[in-house]
Symmetry: C2
Subunit: 79 residues, 2 copies
């Protein structure tokens, strides 16, 4: 079983990496890109097949280890 | 419209960041985590609503700018 976790900067937080990528895209001639956000992606391989039992553990790990909840949002799926 | 891009290290490539996260999870008492992969996530806001027209452009940007195709895989959705 696998947990797929996406961590993104909160909308109110400056995202200099995203702005840099957006500027690079413009310089490369891509038109029509209005915004870019850069975040992290984690894939966690899990033993067993009880997604419901893993859910609170992954939630806690997201909060404590994977993300900084002050400036980042996270969401995950377990499948 | 929005492109959501996930970039992960290829399976054959060492992923020291993933190993570090896995070790941290073990130390924090999480049992049953067999592997962790750490990658990047990008959200690109796009003008218009023609997903098919954007597809080759995003594919190209993934290859040239977002990822290092020698050591990373990418996949994306446009919605």
């Amino acid at each position: 079983m696998k947990a797929k976790i996406v961590i993104t900067p909160k909308k109110a937080v400056l995202d200099p990496q995203g702005k840099t990528v957006q500027a690079a895209l413009e310089q490369m001639g891509y038109e029509g890109v209005t915004d870019v956000h850069v975040g992290k992606y984690l894939e966690v391989d899990l033993e067993g097949d009880d997604a419901e039992a893993w859910k609170p553990k992954i939630e806690e790990a997201c909060h404590k280890l994977f993300s900084n909840p002050v400036i980042e949002d996270y969401e995950f799926t377990i499948e």
